[in-house]
């Protein structure tokens, strides 16, 4: 064979290798072990604060070591006093079964035979004990208490704070309802299909002092197979009231997308994500955006003339408040938005965000690559794809600033477990209203948020996108308290799949 002939064979092979080798390398490095601990995911980010120790050689790119001089403490210890008796006790049984929504049968999930599951109500300070039994959800289940800053071992994240509860299995959740407000619970095992399929319910904690409104109503919004519902019914929610009464309307968005809420008259926005707004003023002609997972509490007044009052949860469904049989035309969707950056009056935060001990970035982009061996256009966190994402490391007592930035082309409802964060600025504009505390933050594309939190709830906490489809695509990072470790693993014998 001539040299020329040889080249004719070798060159195409070399060109093929030149293309395939980098792709193969990217594919190989994106693969995750059959089972792994989130402690071994990605690389530690100390945010300019105290560095715990060397972080080399994990199962994946980095390995967050906590052995330091002290042995690390298991998060399984992080529970409420087992000797304290429960004030509110609830049994919840999960099933995988057909639902009927708006007359249409569809596969889904129930809690005690219904979706949404029963609402849990407690008074502030009470100890809630929930006995979960999984009757027939084949992938296993957990319950996460969205918005309640529970002790870490009670957070209900499969593979991070517990093992998924298999069919026939049980798990007991115990936590003190310290915060008054509107919250919800949902599965955090194979969470996208399970939550979309209805494995969720409402949890309301009323303040010790009670509420100033005569009527207290919950409206849990969920979309089943394209059908918008309130409290599981594909129709308006009618609330019988007397003229002149004041009503507290608790709205929960359990979907993957943001939702607009507006009213046919003026309202006050009393609370956001379970935290009271300081001195809320009357609002009219403006819509409130609830990101995925978010809650708001509105105060409305029933008209004195016997008419009804409408609170629209999107254009499709409404809460109709008024005397039996009364109705009123649906108010048009306002273009104006209630901007929480400037709503209410400033008040003390209880800490000084000007003296942070850690500063983190949570920058979201989208790029082609491989995640878990699969090619695609993936969400990246600080330029990295899952699982090579940052592990935000803090110490108890730290004041933490986080700069969130989204250039991914889509909206992301960012949800940090176990904590509430306060918004300091959006797009560089400082907050001027009431302290705006959230656990679920709507971050539009090309928006930036500066938020602050106090690290006061030790453990390992998910910090992820609550468009649960995005979480399943790898938009999941964790906040880790130095010195803590988890014995649970992703996949493994319990087949834990938190997303």
């Amino acid at each position: 064979m001539s040299l020329n002939g040889g080249l004719k064979i070798v060159l195409p092979i070399l060109a093929t290798v030149a293309i395939m080798a980098p792709l193969g390398w990217m594919w190989q490095t994106s693969r995750v072990p059959g089972t792994y601990s989130v402690m071994n995911m990605g690389y530690p980010d100390y945010g300019g604060g105290h560095v715990s120790d060397s972080s080399s050689g994990g199962e994946m790119q980095g390995h967050v070591h906590n052995h330091h001089s002290l042995p690390s403490r298991m998060i399984t210890d992080l529970i409420v006093n087992p000797a304290r008796p429960a004030d509110v006790r609830v049994d919840l049984v999960t099933r995988q079964e057909m639902l009927t929504v708006g007359g249409r049968p569809m596969p889904g999930f129930t809690v005690n035979g219904v979706s949404p599951g029963p609402e849990i109500r407690a008074r502030q300070g009470q100890l809630i004990e929930v006995q979960l039994r999984n009757e027939s959800v084949s992938d296993g289940v957990t319950l996460h208490w969205h918005g309640i800053d529970v002790p870490n071992a009670m957070d209900g994240v499969a593979g991070v704070t517990q093992d998924a509860v298999p069919v026939g299995g049980e798990f007991t959740y115990r936590f003190v309802a310290d915060q008054a407000g509107s919250f919800w619970y949902h599965s955090h095992q194979v969470s996208n299909p399970q939550v979309v399929g209805g494995l969720l319910g409402s949890l309301v904690v009323t303040p010790r002092s009670g509420i100033a409104q005569q009527v207290d109503v919950s409206a849990v919004a969920h979309t089943y197979g394209g059908l918008r519902t309130i409290n599981g019914k594909a129709e308006d929610l009618r609330v019988p009231t007397q003229p002149g009464q004041r009503v507290r309307v608790r709205v929960t968005n359990t979907d993957n997308g943001p939702m607009k809420v507006w009213a046919g008259g003026s309202y006050r926005l009393l609370a956001v994500d379970g935290t009271e707004v300081h001195r809320p003023t009357e609002v009219s002609g403006r819509a409130v955006t609830l990101t995925a997972g978010a809650r708001v509490e509105l105060e409305v007044k029933v008209p004195g003339d016997g008419d009804a009052f409408r609170v629209q949860l999107t254009k499709t469904t409404a809460v109709i408040i008024g005397p039996q049989g009364a109705d009123v035309a649906a108010p048009p969707q306002p273009n104006a938005e209630l901007d929480l950056l400037a709503y209410g009056s400033p008040a003390s935060l209880g800490f000084d965000p000007a003296q942070p001990s850690r500063r983190f970035d949570y920058r979201i982009d989208r790029r082609p690559g491989f995640v878990k061996g699969r090619p695609g256009m993936w969400w990246s966190i600080n330029g990295h794809l899952y699982p090579n994402v940052p592990m935000y490391v803090v110490r108890e007592g730290d004041v933490v600033l986080m700069h969130i930035e989204n250039h991914s082309g889509e909206v992301h409802p960012m949800h940090l477990h176990g904590h509430h964060v306060v918004v300091l600025a959006r797009n560089g504009v400082a907050a001027t209203g009431s302290p705006w505390w959230v656990d679920s933050l709507n971050v539009l594309t090309n928006e930036t948020y500066d938020v602050a939190l106090v690290a006061n709830n030790p453990g390992v906490w998910m910090d992820h996108c609550h468009n649960l489809k995005h979480a399943a695509q790898g938009m999941v990072a964790h906040l880790l308290y130095e010195g803590f470790d988890t014995p649970y693993r992703i996949a493994g014998p319990a087949d834990n799949q938190p997303e």
């Binding site: 060109a15 249409r104 996208n192 197979g225 394209g226 918008r228 979907d255 997308g257 090619p375």
Partner: protein, 161 residues
């Protein structure tokens, strides 16, 4: 390899046609659904596929468009490029590279459209360019194969014994 090249090039063109079809199918289904009182928003689209309970069957078109555009078409274009190295036809690599480049641009414009709708308009325009170029890449190979057949005996004569 030349047959493989031809098939892959035509496959890219066919896929562009499929992409256009499923999108219009989905939008037609959407407008029919909206006509009957349906309301389409982020939660409706994000939630429908997981439960298998789609608000209207044509939502499937959006799913197909996404999977095709993200995985299948880039995969075919990459295979075409690799096959072109072995095709030993003048210009085969060049046209496979152009197809590949247009596929990359197409994907970027598609995702750009999520944030910047005018990018979506260019996505539609670039689809026509990709369709034409893929078709041409396949057809010119057929023509060059014909030329090769005609010149083959001549070449044999010229070969020194």
């Amino acid at each position: 390899m030349r047959t493989a090249y031809k098939v892959l090039a035509y496959l890219v063109a066919a896929e562009v046609a499929v992409q256009a079809m499923v999108m219009v199918w989905a939008i037609a289904g959407l407008s029919k659904w909206v006509d009957s009182g349906g309301v389409f928003d982020k939660s409706v689209i994000e939630g429908s596929i997981e439960t298998g309970a789609m608000p209207f069957p044509e939502v499937f078109g959006i799913l197909v468009h996404g999977l095709n555009g993200t995985f299948v078409v880039p995969g075919i274009a990459l295979l075409l490029l690799i096959v072109s190295f072995f095709a030993k036809v003048r210009g085969a690599i060049k046209w496979a590279l152009i197809v590949f480049a247009l596929v990359v641009v197409q994907g970027q414009l598609g995702f750009l459209g999520h944030d910047f709708p005018l990018g979506g308009a260019l996505h539609g325009l670039n689809a026509l360019a990709l369709f034409g170029v893929a078709l041409y890449a396949g057809r010119r190979l057929r023509a060059s194969a014909r030329r090769r057949d005609v010149s083959a005996p001549e070449a044999q004569v010229a070969t020194p014994v």
